[in-house]
């Protein structure tokens, strides 16, 4: 290429400047943490990504529901065991009235938890917005199904937790009051 010296210098200077500018851009490119297959907000607007996320949440709700059903079975066992304990202590001549009241309250709260749990199971079994295989067929309906199921499962969870916490505390109080536990 036949360029005069001034043009050569000009071209060389421009090339260097462009390169420097490119490096500046590389330096200031934002860095995102690579901590797993999380979707960026822009990816979530893609229909296939959104459907995958909804389908995963549906499966999680089903799993949550199954775990909670097991919790309710165990809650019934705990109530029966507590009743046996009360009978035993009452036969030994101890005042079990506080424990009986705590058990009655426990049963009431577990019954309420079961109502919410059954609602969630009904919602998941109806699976509006999902087909029988848990695939999304209607996004708004699928979202509503998940919201309703999640809310009901959460309500049931809080009641199971609180009921168990309170009953356990009542049992501890009873044992301490009657010298049935080792003092710390």
């Amino acid at each position: 290429m036949n360029l005069n010296p001034l043009s050569r210098k000009l071209l060389a200077g421009l090339a260097t400047g462009a390169l420097a500018l490119g490096l500046v851009i590389v330096n200031v490119t934002p860095v995102y943490a690579q901590d797993g297959p999380t979707s960026t907000p822009s990816e979530l607007t893609r229909p296939e990504i959104r459907q995958q996320r909804l389908e995963r949440l549906y499966q999680r709700a089903v799993n949550w529901s199954e775990g909670q059903a097991d919790n309710l079975v165990r809650a019934d066992e705990a109530a029966a065991t507590t009743q046996t304990y009360i009978d035993e202590k009452k036969a030994a001549g101890l005042d079990t009235s506080a424990l009986e009241a705590a058990l009655a309250s426990y049963k009431t709260q577990v019954a309420e938890a079961r109502v919410f749990h059954d609602q969630a199971v009904t919602v998941l079994n109806t699976h509006n917005g999902f087909d029988a295989d848990g695939k999304v067929t209607d996004v708004p309906a699928a979202r509503l199904t998940l919201a309703d199921a999640g809310s009901a499962l959460g309500q049931a969870r809080v009641r199971i937790y609180n009921a168990t916490f309170t009953l356990r505390q009542a049992v501890k109080d009873f044992r301490e009051a009657n010298g049935l536990t080792v003092e710390p």
Binding site: L19, R50, R143, L153, N162, F165
Partner: protein
């Protein structure tokens, strides 16, 4: 004049090599150019799930389909120990008589296990909210 042009070109070439070297150094696998250890913030250690000191707050949203809403559970009021000094004439505290209560131990274990195993999906709602 020609030598000056050659100098300019050599200078530009050196700048190009330097720039490429710097750029390649920045394009390491972690894509940051910073040391890998500085890329991620240290996550807090996961704590073992223990019974919380107070019951969970009950959500206020009304249930549908005729479900009754439980009254909000109140935190058990722990009576604060008073620091009153024993009267001079008070008898010295005796050791608590501990009776055999294996069924009580078993019941406490059962309730504790249930409490720690309550099914939950703590990120369910937040992940649902993120989906447009």
């Amino acid at each position: 004049m020609k030598s000056r042009t050659t100098s300019w070109m050599m200078f530009s070439l050196l700048a190009l090599v330097a720039a490429l070297t710097t750029g390649c150094g920045r394009l390491r696998p972690n894509g940051t150019g910073a040391p890998a250890a500085a890329t991620f913030t240290a996550a807090a250690p996961v704590q073992a799930v223990e019974p919380t000191a107070t019951p969970l707050a009950v959500a206020t949203s009304a249930p549908t389909a005729g479900a009754t809403v439980a009254s909000a559970a109140t935190a058990p009021t722990a009576s604060a120990p008073t620091a009153s000094a024993p009267a001079a004439s008070a008898p010295a505290p005796t050791a608590t008589v501990v009776q055999n209560d294996t069924s009580g131990d078993a019941l406490d274990d059962l309730l504790g296990g249930l409490l720690n195993g309550v099914a939950d999906d703590p990120t369910f709602q937040s992940e649902l909210d993120q989906i447009p």
